[in-house]
């Protein structure tokens, strides 16, 4: 997957939508991706990684964040 293509595809998904509509579309995409992934353990690991920036408070290093 070409990274610029992937980014452009995701950016296009939001075009012309307001904040609330964008949020709903993102949530729908997350669900569709979770279904396409089809792996509960990987989903849990990715969800934890997505959340990690808020789980490690204040002075956590980048490395700790990545490892969370």
């Amino acid at each position: 997957m070409n990274p610029d293509d992937a980014y452009a595809t995701l950016a296009a998904m939001h075009r012309g939508l307001d904040e609330q509509q964008s949020a709903l579309v993102t949530a729908r995409l997350v669900l569709l991706l979770a279904d396409a992934l089809g792996d509960a353990d990987r989903l849990a690991a990715l969800a934890a990684e997505a959340r990690a920036i808020f789980d490690t408070p204040g002075n956590a290093t980048d490395g700790e964040r990545r490892g969370a």
């Binding site: 949530a27 729908r28 997350v30 669900l31 569709l32 279904d35």
Partner: protein, 552 residues
């Protein structure tokens, strides 16, 4: 309420107040709700005399628990009250879930015929209580004591002493065992200072029972964010006597007293049902809910059942139904211990088995609650995204959770079940509740499989050879607990005429399974063998193999 039922609920002066102590009772049940009354009937049918204490003298006010699951009905049937409930109740199995104006999906809880009881009936809690009071009155050895309030409880190695307050004064009652079935606000739990921990949900719901003659289908209808009640959920469900249960989410900020007033309730219901429908309000209540449990259900000689032991949200009909299953699991064990045929350790399996079942209920109930009342903008967004995909995507439809409706739990390996020793292709594994199936009797009459099980140990034998039957009879004769043999096959006396016993249990000829008194499979064999059956029977009663008598 009819006059004779009022009479059955009448307070009578306990004989102990006149200096007639009756000695130590085998079992005292505290709490005269559906669970306690069911325990009393089950004990009586096991030949155990029982005194039931309740601080009130009325059946429940309002409909309260209304959805009774197939498994509960099978238990009520074993106790002799199931058919009356089925006749009075509203049978249903179809549920529909709507999001805004759209039908998201439709589910069928019992798509395949061949069970005596339906997936669910709706029946007001007070009917269940009345029918069980009537049943208790028919059974020898049941004494129901209304307006008898437990004021103190203590136990030692030999028994439990209850201090009881009545309108005529206070008396003490001794019991070998106490079953605490006194509900979510359990007095026994409070007197013993036991923690009841879990999660309280910050939301309020309005329940309204309305009387109307309407031709809505007999289905469970659930709405997310309906046009008549924006941003909240709603439920419509039919009960007997033209009463409809309406359940409306109000949100945490609603004032419960204000919300209950007819001038606020009636416009909400009109918005839902339409201006043209005539209805009367029968009962209104505003509730919040919790999911919590005792850490242990057995405290030596005091055993907790139903809401006193565990509490769930109403989504999924897992409150009343799990209490009935607690009783089903406990009473046969208590009866065996009282008879000296099993050690008190058997009662620890009640804790292990029902803990798992109730943890499962709490998990389902918590998840339903998270879906129905999402907390925080992100979880609300996710929920709405699931609903928006549900009509077109199976995986999203499967995530829609308006309450995962009560199904019997497969019991864990509590030490009572014998693990399979062979490869089985499906069937009912050890720990699972037996599934009903139609049978035909020699006289041509229709019969049901489950009617032949329950109350005692029994062995389902599928087309056994004469030789194996003889060997089994001989082996079981000298066993202190024993087991009945139920022979089923393609010929008389009990014919599997639709082949559903064989299909549902995956039993080839010569195979069989051992059923516990609570109609759960304890063990199964592709080829029955007397020695294996005796070992499984001892194991299911927590008896050290080979020992004949066990001190209680």
């Amino acid at each position: 309420m009819r006059g004779d039922e009022r009479d059955r609920l009448a307070y009578r002066r306990p004989p102990e107040l006149d200096g007639k102590p009756a000695g130590r009772r085998p079992v005292v049940v505290v709490g005269g709700g559906p669970v306690g009354l069911t325990a009393a009937a089950d004990l009586a049918l096991h030949g155990v005399p029982v005194v039931l204490l309740d601080d009130d003298d009325t059946v429940s006010t309002g409909s309260r628990a209304i959805c009774w699951a197939k498994r509960s009905l099978e238990i009520f049937d074993r106790l002799g009250a199931g058919e009356r409930m089925l006749t009075k109740g509203v049978t249903w199995k179809i549920g529909k879930v709507f999001h805004r104006d759209d039908l998201v999906y439709r589910f069928d809880l019992l798509p395949e015929p061949g069970d005596k009881f339906p997936a669910f009936i709706n029946l007001q809690q007070f009917y269940v209580e009345q029918y069980m009071i009537d049943r208790d009155a028919e059974l020898p050895g049941v004494e129901l004591r209304w307006r008898n309030k437990v004021a103190a409880i203590r136990q030692d190695r030999d028994g439990v002493t209850l201090e009881i307050e009545t309108p005529d004064g206070r008396y003490a009652l001794e019991a070998e065992w106490v079953i605490a079935a006194d509900g979510a606000r359990s007095t026994i739990r409070r007197l013993m200072g036991l923690a009841f921990e879990g999660q309280v949900f910050e939301d309020r719901f309005l329940i309204a029972d309305v009387h109307m003659t309407a031709d809505f289908p007999v289905e469970r209808w659930f709405w997310f964010d309906p046009p008549f009640h924006r941003n909240q959920s709603a439920l419509l469900h039919k009960q007997p006597d033209d009463i409809w249960r309406i359940d409306l989410q109000l949100g945490w900020d609603a004032d419960p007293e204000e919300a209950k007033r007819p001038e606020h309730v009636i416009p909400r219901i009109k918005a839902m049902l339409g201006e043209h429908i005539d209805f009367e309000l029968d009962w209104v209540s505003v509730y919040t809910f919790q999911c919590r449990r005792l850490a242990r259900f057995r405290h030596d000689r005091i055993v907790f059942v139903g809401d006193s032991a565990h509490q769930v949200s109403p989504f999924g009909a897992r409150g009343g139904n799990s209490g009935i299953q607690d009783v089903d699991n406990l009473v046969w064990k208590l009866a065996l211990v009282l008879a000296g045929k099993a050690p008190p350790a058997l009662l620890d399996s009640y804790d292990a088995e029902r803990s798992l079942a109730n943890d499962e209920n709490i998990r389902h109930s918590t998840r339903s609650t998270e879906f129905i009342t999402p907390k925080g903008p992100g979880s609300r967004l996710l929920r709405d995204a699931v609903l928006s995909l549900a009509a077109t995507h199976d995986f999203a439809r499967a995530m829609v959770n308006s309450g995962r409706l009560s199904v019997p739990c497969v019991l864990p390996d509590s030490g009572l079940q014998t693990p399979d020793d062979a490869q089985w292709d499906g069937g009912i594994p050890p720990g699972a509740a037996m599934r009903d199936a139609p049978l035909r009797r020699t006289d041509g009459g229709d019969d049901w499989l489950l009617g032949h099980f329950g109350g005692d140990f029994a062995i389902l034998l599928y087309e056994p050879s004469e030789e194996s039957l003889r060997a089994l009879r001989l082996a079981l004769q000298s066993h202190p607990i024993g087991a009945r043999l139920v022979v089923i096959g393609t010929t008389a006396p009990l014919t599997d005429h639709q082949g559903l016993v064989r299909a549902r249990y995956a039993l080839p000829p010569g195979a069989g399974c051992l059923a516990r008194p609570d109609q759960h499979v304890a063990a199964r064999w592709q080829r029955v063998d007397a020695a294996a059956i005796l070992a499984a029977l001892d194991r299911a009663a927590c008896r050290p193999a080979g020992r004949v008598e066990v001190a209680a």
